[in-house]
């Protein structure tokens, strides 16, 4: 048990420590190795009742020394040049000195730089997610591989390639100006949301929800909000994750089948998460700097405010989707808006609109499922069946297939 507490301390300090080491060495691999070494030293030196006042500062010093040792060893191997690096610390760590210089501003910039490195646009989305989980959250390659249903070896390669790609891009670490900083923060918010979504609606595989990923994303979002309380989009992100996650108990049946919003038992929604999400959103909206995540959070929040599915304020939700289409247009948003329009005006006009947005959604299972249910509502059963069958073939998860299967059964 005592050891478990210590590893929780390590997990909690990880983003800050790794961020500082990444700045010191300018090399993710070296920073990770140094953190690993510092953690081992901490596990030997710390006791349950004698954790340093500032574990992060302790680990940064230990990690920095470990990193310098490693660099020195390497250079000794390469050339037997005389030793001219500073002597490393001997293992006792007066963290107080360093704490003074490590104020919040330095932490913020370090962590932002680390997050931005992991979420850099030269990386593919799956690489961003993998790196953020590995480097910032500290999940093992095996854990990440399991979450994404790939072999550990495949995940290892994905991470290695991502790091190579970052090195090739020769990231510069100069201070970003205000615009660049805003861009970075939104990239970080998006990457954290990708992690969340990967847990919330897995693209493939048997399980629709992978709670660990959702919880890691929430932890990262909380950290981001704490570091940048003045960024409304980050609060919007956290609000969105909390409200979506509040439904996790209601989203699957005991057999692991997906339950639609319409069918969910609202008494199973976690009211504490909803309350926190709503107040975060309210605080975010006060800044009058709306962003896509704040709007998505507002949509999710509107659902939570309705006592039943029938009592949902569809007009408000339609307005919010319209706003979302303006600031971040996407085929999926357009589809969602059509679904809401069907609630407001019935299936016939919605079906007509569906044709207008069909082109980019041809391979998207949910598009055909939506089309199927509009057709069924209009009594065009044969066409509905064909749409559902197409949705079945395109579905990525077993839960999704099960959902479509149930729809097909209803038709007959």
């Amino acid at each position: 048990m005592a050891n478990a507490w210590l590893s929780t301390h390590l997990r909690a300090a990880r983003p800050r420590v790794l961020a500082a080491l990444n700045r010191a060495f300018g090399d993710l691999d070296l920073a990770e190795d140094a953190f690993q070494e510092a953690s081992l030293r901490a596990l030997k030196a710390w006791r349950q009742d004698q954790v340093p006042n500032d574990p992060a500062a302790w680990l940064i010093i230990a990690g920095r020394n470990a990193g310098i040792d490693a660099i020195r060893r390497k250079s000794r191997e390469k050339l037997s040049a005389p030793e001219d690096l500073e002597p490393a610390f001997d293992g006792t760590h007066p963290e107080r000195e360093l704490t003074v210089s490590l104020d919040q501003a330095v932490y913020r910039d370090d962590v932002l730089r680390l997050l931005f490195t992991c979420c850099h646009p030269v990386l593919r989305r799956d690489q961003q997610i993998a790196l953020a989980l590995k480097v910032v959250a500290g999940l093992s390659v095996d854990e990440i591989a399991r979450a994404f249903l790939v072999q550990p070896k495949t995940m290892e390669q994905r991470i290695t390639r991502a790091k190579k790609r970052l090195q090739a891009a020769r990231l510069t670490y100069e201070e970003p100006d205000a615009a660049a900083r805003a861009g970075r923060i939104s990239a970080v918010a998006n990457a954290i949301y990708l992690v969340f979504n990967e847990g919330y609606s897995a693209a493939q595989g048997p399980k629709l929800i992978r709670a660990t990923l959702c919880e890691e994303a929430i932890r990262l979002a909380r950290l981001a909000v704490r570091l940048f309380p003045e960024e409304p989009e980050l609060r919007g992100l956290l609000a969105l994750c909390l409200i979506q996650h509040s439904r996790h108990r209601a989203r699957l049946t005991a057999d692991g089948e997906a339950v639609t919003l319409e069918q969910q038992d609202r008494s199973l929604w976690d009211r504490t998460l909803i309350a926190e999400g709503n107040i975060l959103l309210e605080a975010a909206l006060r800044s009058a700097r709306p962003g896509p995540l704040q709007i998505e959070a507002a949509i999710a929040a509107t659902h939570t405010q309705a006592p039943s599915f029938e009592a949902t304020d569809w007009n408000e939700i339609e307005r919010l989707y319209r706003a979302l289409e303006l600031i971040r247009p996407s085929p999926v948003v357009a589809l969602n808006r059509v679904v809401v329009l069907a609630r407001l005006h019935g299936p016939a006009p919605a079906l007509a609109r569906l044709d207008a947005i069909a082109a980019p959604l041809e391979r998207y299972a949910n598009f055909h499922a939506v089309k199927g249910s509009f057709l069924a509502d209009l009594g065009r059963m044969e066409e509905a069946r064909r749409a559902f069958e197409l949705a079945f073939d395109l579905a990525g998860t077993e839960a999704e297939r099960e959902h479509v299967r149930a729809k097909l059964k209803e038709l007959s």
């Binding site: 909690a12 349950q48 500032d54 950290l223 704490r226 609060r235 309350a275 926190e276 006060r286 800044s287």
Partner: protein, 130 residues
């Protein structure tokens, strides 16, 4: 005499807790509840939402200024508080020893003024976030 029991801890650490660890912390809080209720010391308990939910209001040159978040330059955050009614500081300290003290710290401070409903039964009003 009324004492405020103010709880501070690092939210990064709180967020990193596993559900078993969280449960171990809550167990100590429950012990504290039971103990202070049995002794009729318990007045109120209040657990705060994350610091991300907060705004700070101040006044600068006559204008109200509402800023997001708490003051962030602290390593530990204010997470919640208890009110307990004890005869002596010693008694309050003894009760607080039941709380989880391995992480973060707890400040005990006597209350100078209090107005509120009769709390001695402790059980009457429970408000959850929802």
């Amino acid at each position: 005499m009324l004492f405020s029991v103010l709880i501070y801890a690092n939210e990064d650490f709180i967020d990193a807790l596993s559900s078993e660890e969280r449960e171990a912390l809550l167990k100590k809080h429950r012990t504290f509840h039971e103990h202070t209720k049995a002794n009729r010391n318990f007045a109120a308990a209040s657990k705060l939402m994350s610091t991300g939910t907060s705004v700070t209001i101040s006044r600068e040159s006559g204008d109200y200024v509402v800023t997001d978040g708490p003051f962030t330059e602290t390593k530990e955050q204010f997470l919640g508080f208890y009110l307990i009614d004890c005869a002596t500081l010693e008694e309050a300290i003894e009760a607080v020893k039941l709380l989880p003290l391995d992480h973060g710290r707890i400040e005990v401070r006597p209350v100078d003024f209090f107005e509120g409903s009769d709390f001695r039964n402790g059980e009457r009003l429970v408000i959850n976030a929802s």
